[in-house]
């Protein structure tokens, strides 16, 4: 093979590598579909966030509208604080309710935003006031057992 043919082959090889990188960026990864640097930031406080993790989706009516950017514990109030980054084209009213839900029975946890009716919209850096914590299965079972025990002791009287 002469030199120019080798150059063409190497050029094709590098181009193929770039194509693979673009494929991984667009189709396998989520570089374009959601860039974490774009959008505005909201904050929501919960008593318990369960298994909600950084990069978990934020959904409204089942549609992904943003992602969880950070999760930390407030040192004074001992509340869990989740910072969300919402895509700029979506706006949520002041009385939006943030609920932590699980996709499927054992699936990943995500944050659901139920839009309210207020005419004022949440701006960058504001806090969602109305929140509902994650359902913790152990607590639920404990409560159920406690209620059962209370019921049966009530029957005996």
């Amino acid at each position: 093979m002469n030199r120019s043919k080798i150059n063409i082959a190497v050029g094709l090889f590098v181009a193929l590598g770039m194509a693979a990188l673009v494929f991984m960026a667009l189709k396998v990864g989520n570089l374009v579909s959601f860039d974490s640097g774009v959008g505005y930031r909201l904050e929501a406080r919960f008593d318990n966030i369960g298994g909600l993790r950084v990069r978990a989706p934020v959904k409204s009516a089942g549609v992904v509208v943003g992602r969880i950017e950070a999760v930390y514990l407030d040192k004074d109030t001992y509340e869990a604080v989740a910072q969300l980054r919402i895509r700029p084209e979506y706006r949520f009213s002041n009385d939006t309710i943030a609920v932590i839900l699980t996709s499927g029975l054992l699936g990943e946890q995500y944050l659901s935003l139920d839009a309210g009716g207020d005419s004022r919209y949440l701006a960058d850096g504001e806090r969602i006031i109305k929140t509902q914590s994650a359902m913790v299965l152990e607590k639920l079972i404990g409560q159920f057992l406690y209620n059962k025990a209370a019921e049966s002791s009530g029957d005996r009287k």
């Binding site: 080798i6 082959a9 190497v10 193929l16 590598g17 693979a20 189709k27 396998v28 989520n30």
Partner: protein
């Protein structure tokens, strides 16, 4: 007892001497590498040999690894009723681990061994000594371009391997088994992060390229100038490259992914 101690000490000293020789050689090669970048006439044929001609084995292996992952992953995932997560399982394992590691192992076996044999034979037939006599630096002319070709080729090969694997998993998972194609891609995109997963995977491949490249040129350059010497050097290249790729992979994985959750 004294014999045993003597043997142990001798073996330790030999290993240390070899390591020292290798380190000094690596520094020499690294110092000559920028020069090799300025001479594409030497570099491009090596990229052609190490990269382009490894394409067939990389693409075919990638496709099959992806297809096997899809079949095995589906078997396990469907027991938990989460066969839809197949996309994210396949993509994460390929992009983070299998792409860089398997590409590096195949590369060491296909291109690394050939480079060792080539340089070793040049040493055995005294071509390297002849170059020295003509005031041509054999490290700059022969060794550095081959090392650089490995560093350039391996990340590209790993990216192609991962992409071929994802396509193979798509073929088996969606076309053959019948998972919903929307769920396959969206689960994949929800779990794979470009910077954390894809770029970290390619960085791994770059490190493996440096390791495999240095080992194959070192073993060739310091091969004993006999038939047995060259064959032993070729074997050592494959064994040592594979082991160091796997060790480095463990270290890099702990550094990169342990702090994720």
């Amino acid at each position: 007892m004294l014999d045993f101690l003597e043997g142990l000490g001798g073996a330790t000293l030999r290993v240390l001497a070899r390591l020292g020789l290798a380190s000094r050689f690596f520094v020499t090669v690294l110092a000559r590498t920028p020069g090799a970048l300025r001479r594409p006439g030497l570099l491009i044929p090596q990229v052609h040999f190490a990269g382009v001609r490894s394409l067939a084995i990389i693409v075919v292996s990638g496709l099959f690894v992806g297809m096997v992952l899809a079949v095995q992953g589906y078997e396990v995932l469907q027991r938990f009723g989460s066969a839809d997560s197949l996309g994210s399982l396949v993509a994460l394992s390929l992009v983070r681990e299998l792409g860089p590691v398997v590409a590096a192992l195949l590369f060491a076996g296909r291109a690394g061994s050939a480079v060792t044999a080539e340089i070793g034979l040049m040493r055995a037939t005294e071509q390297l000594a002849a170059m020295d006599m003509m005031a041509v630096d054999p490290v700059a002319r022969i060794v550095a371009p081959r090392f650089l070709a490995a560093v350039v080729s391996l990340p590209i090969l790993a990216a192609i391997f991962s992409s071929a694997g994802v396509l193979g998993a798509y073929l088996v998972g969606v076309e053959l088994i019948g998972i919903d194609s929307g769920a396959f891609w969206s689960q994949m995109q929800a779990s794979v992060d470009f910077r954390m997963d894809v770029l970290n995977g390619l960085f791994k491949a770059l490190v493996f390229g440096v390791a495999a490249g240095l080992i194959c040129v070192f073993e060739g350059y310091h091969a004993a100038p006999t038939a047995e010497g060259v064959s032993g050097a070729t074997t050592r290249t494959v064994v040592i490259s594979s082991l160091s790729v796997l060790t480095l992979d463990f270290i890099l994985t702990v550094l990169m992914f342990r702090g994720l959750n």
